[in-house]
């Protein structure tokens, strides 16, 4: 996501990234970002929560108008309700392909240790 934002911004489009992995977003370096501690698959909140969607979009728009410096990140104070954290319902049923068996896991570990992401 961050890499795409950089390309768009370089093409003279103003971008704001909503991220739930700010550690990675900072590492990549994006023009403007908003960080939120919501799970994968529900980054704008629970299904049907229009007020939350409006609030988050509002913050993205605020940042688009305000931020004066490349790399600005704003953190949102929202937290995922504890009873919903226990549901762990953001994990897909199908196992992640690279974790599906030992050979694939080893292949991924080798990539992580020695791989070239631009190959």
């Amino acid at each position: 996501m961050g890499l795409v934002a950089r390309v768009l911004e370089k093409a003279r489009l103003t971008t704001v990234v909503l991220t739930n992995m700010p550690w990675i977003t900072r590492k990549i370096g994006v023009p403007r970002s908003v960080a939120i501690e919501f799970p994968f698959g529900m980054i704008y909140g629970h299904p049907g929560e229009r007020e939350m969607q409006l609030a988050i979009l509002g913050r993205l728009l605020d940042l688009a108008g305000d931020a004066g410096k490349a790399g600005t990140m704003v953190e949102l104070p929202y937290t995922w309700p504890e009873e919903d954290v226990r549901k762990r319902d953001w994990f897909p049923e199908e196992p992640t392909p690279w974790m599906a068996d030992q050979d694939r896991l080893m292949e991924m570990m080798d990539f992580i240790a020695h791989g070239n992401p631009l190959e």
């Binding site: 911004e9 093409a11 370096g29 799970p39 698959g41 409006l54 953190e75 791989g115 631009l118 190959e119």
Partner: protein, 167 residues
């Protein structure tokens, strides 16, 4: 930094992501294009890495990822402003998409964007929005081919401001 980037994942994934060979952007300045007009006059588009596509279009290729787990489909899809819940699909093996299949606005908030337009917070909404599949261990094609094409498409649509979000 109080937002925990690794809260919603397995320990294996969290440890992997912290050692991951990310594309090194440190030698290049972060690009910067400030808005040329107030947000209230801007045309806005959404871009999601959630792997969304229209039911009538080709899905992102998950079968190839299943057989080659270091590959992720690097293409993108277009979604019309008027897309309905019945017409939208998601293809992505790294998050649970059933929530978005009940209300895609929890990842792709076009409905809320229409409300913000009605309130006068933005100037207009792009007739087309974009999505790609964000699992990209080797993002060369995404960066060098797909993203420039997405930029060209968005500029052709007259978009001023792009709101991106992850899967």
């Amino acid at each position: 930094m109080s937002v925990n980037s690794f809260k919603f994942m397995s320990r294996t994934l969290a440890e992997s992501l912290q050692r991951w060979p990310y594309v090194d952007t440190s030698g290049e300045e972060i690009p910067w294009k400030p808005l040329a007009k107030p947000v209230a006059d801007c045309k806005v588009a959404l871009v999601s890495s959630g792997g969304f596509y229209r039911a009538v279009d080709e899905p992102f290729n998950l079968d190839r990822e299943r057989s080659e787990p270091l590959w992720g489909d690097p293409s993108f899809r277009e979604l019309p402003r008027s897309i309905t819940q019945e017409e939208i699909r998601a293809a992505h093996l790294h998050y649970e998409s059933s929530h978005a299949m009940r209300d895609f606005n929890c990842m792709f908030p076009l409905g809320a964007l229409e409300e913000l337009l009605a309130q006068g917070r933005i100037g207009s909404i792009s007739e087309t929005h974009l999505s790609f599949m964000g699992y990209q261990p080797k993002p060369r094609v995404l960066m060098q081919e797909t993203a420039p094409r997405m930029a060209e498409r968005l500029r052709g649509l007259g978009v001023d401001l792009v709101l991106l979000s992850s899967g």
